[in-house]
Symmetry: C2
Subunit: 193 residues, 2 copies
C-alpha cells in the first residue's frame, strides 16, 4: 500500500533495536481518514474470504480492525490483555511473549463473541516474530472458528514471523513489509497488488 509506505517514510522514527515508531498516525495519535483507507485496503484484500468476524488485540490493533469492520459490516472483537490468568470458564485464554517488553502476558476473549461458525480475519498493526498473532491464532483455534486471513499493517520482513506463517499456509497479507530499518534508511519489499 503506497500511501502507508509514504506515511512511514514521512512520519516514522527509527529507534535502536529495530524499533519503528509510528506514534503520529497509528499508535498514539491516530489519523482517522488514513486509517479509513487502510480499512478499505484490508477489505479489498480479503473481501472474498466470507469473513464473519474480525479479531484483533488491544491496544494498537483496535483502530485498524474497527475501520476494517466498517467495510466488512461484521463485528470486531479485541482480545484483552490481563495480568492474572482469569479462571472464568466463559473465556478463551492464551499467552503471548512480548519481545520488546521481555515478558509473558495473558490474553482473553469471551466465548460469547467467537464460535465455530465464524470465519475470522485477524488484524494487527505490527508483525515481527509473530507472537501476538500466534496468541490470536490460538484463541481462534480454541473457539473452533476458521482463520481465513491475517492482515498486518507493517511487517518487519527481517524478522521471522511473516515467513513462518506463510510457510504454514496462512493467508497473510501485509500492507507494507520493511526489509531494512536504519536511521535515515527504510527499505520496503516490492509487493504485487
Amino acid at each position: 500500500m503506497d500511501s502507508l509506505e509514504r506515511m512511514i517514510l514521512k512520519h516514522g522514527e527509527v529507534k535502536e533495536g529495530n524499533i519503528l515508531k509510528v506514534d503520529s498516525f497509528l499508535n498514539h495519535q491516530l489519523n482517522p481518514e488514513f486509517l479509513y483507507k487502510v480499512g478499505e485496503e484490508f477489505y479489498r484484500l480479503f473481501k472474498d474470504e466470507g469473513i464473519t468476524k474480525i479479531l484483533t488485540i488491544e491496544v494498537s490493533g483496535i483502530a485498524l480492525a474497527l475501520m476494517t469492520g466498517l467495510f466488512f459490516k461484521v463485528p470486531v472483537v479485541f482480545a484483552k490483555k490481563t495480568v492474572s490468568l482469569n479462571l472464568d470458564k466463559d473465556i478463551y485464554t492464551s499467552k503471548v511473549f512480548s519481545y520488546t517488553k521481555n515478558q509473558v502476558y495473558n490474553i482473553m476473549i469471551s466465548k460469547k463473541y467467537l464460535d465455530k461458525s465464524d470465519k475470522v480475519l485477524l488484524i494487527d498493526d505490527f508483525l515481527a516474530e509473530g507472537n501476538a498473532i500466534r496468541g490470536l491464532i490460538d484463541l481462534t483455534q480454541k473457539s473452533g472458528a476458521e482463520i481465513r486471513g491475517i492482515g498486518i499493517a507493517i511487517e518487519k520482513g527481517f524478522q521471522q514471523g511473516g515467513r513462518m506463517l506463510r510457510g504454514e499456509g496462512y493467508n497473510l497479507k501485509s500492507l507494507a513489509i520493511v526489509d531494512e530499518l536504519k536511521p535515515g534508511s527504510i527499505r520496503f519489499r516490492d509487493q504485487e497488488n
Copy 2:
C-alpha cells in the same frame, strides 16, 4: 440518542454494584456500523466548536473517538495508561483513580500531539464519578490547549461526575444518561436534542 438507548436496553447487562456491561457492542466486541453513527452524532453535537483535536483514553474510548475523528477530519490522540510514572520530559502526565478497580493509575500523552493552539473535544465511553475525564482535563490544561467540549456515550446520572462538570461550565453532552440501573430496569433521562 435513541439508537444508543435501544442498544443498551437490548444488549446491556446490569451487574451488581451499578455496573452496566456493554461488552457486545462497545467494550469488547465492537459494532462498527453503530459506532460510525455514534461518531456522526458527536459531530452533530460539537461541530460548531472549532475542534482541532480529539482526546480520549485507552482502551474503551478509542473506537468512539476514532469514529468521531472521521467526521471532524482531525487527529485523535489517546492517553496511555502506564504503571510507572515516566519521567520523560516530553510527556504530560496525570493520575486517575479507578473506582471499579480501587487503584490509582498514571496516564500520559506525548507533548508532540497536544499544544496551546488546540481546541479539544474529550471523548469517553462512560462517565460516572468523572475520574477519567478529570485526568484528560488535567492533561489538556497542562498542554495549554482549550477544552471546547466533552462527549460521553453513557453517563451514569446517579453518580456525580456529570453534575459537577456541568456545574463548572464544561460543555458536556452525553448520548444516553442512565438515571436508574436495576436488573431488568434501566431508566433513561429525557434529553432535548
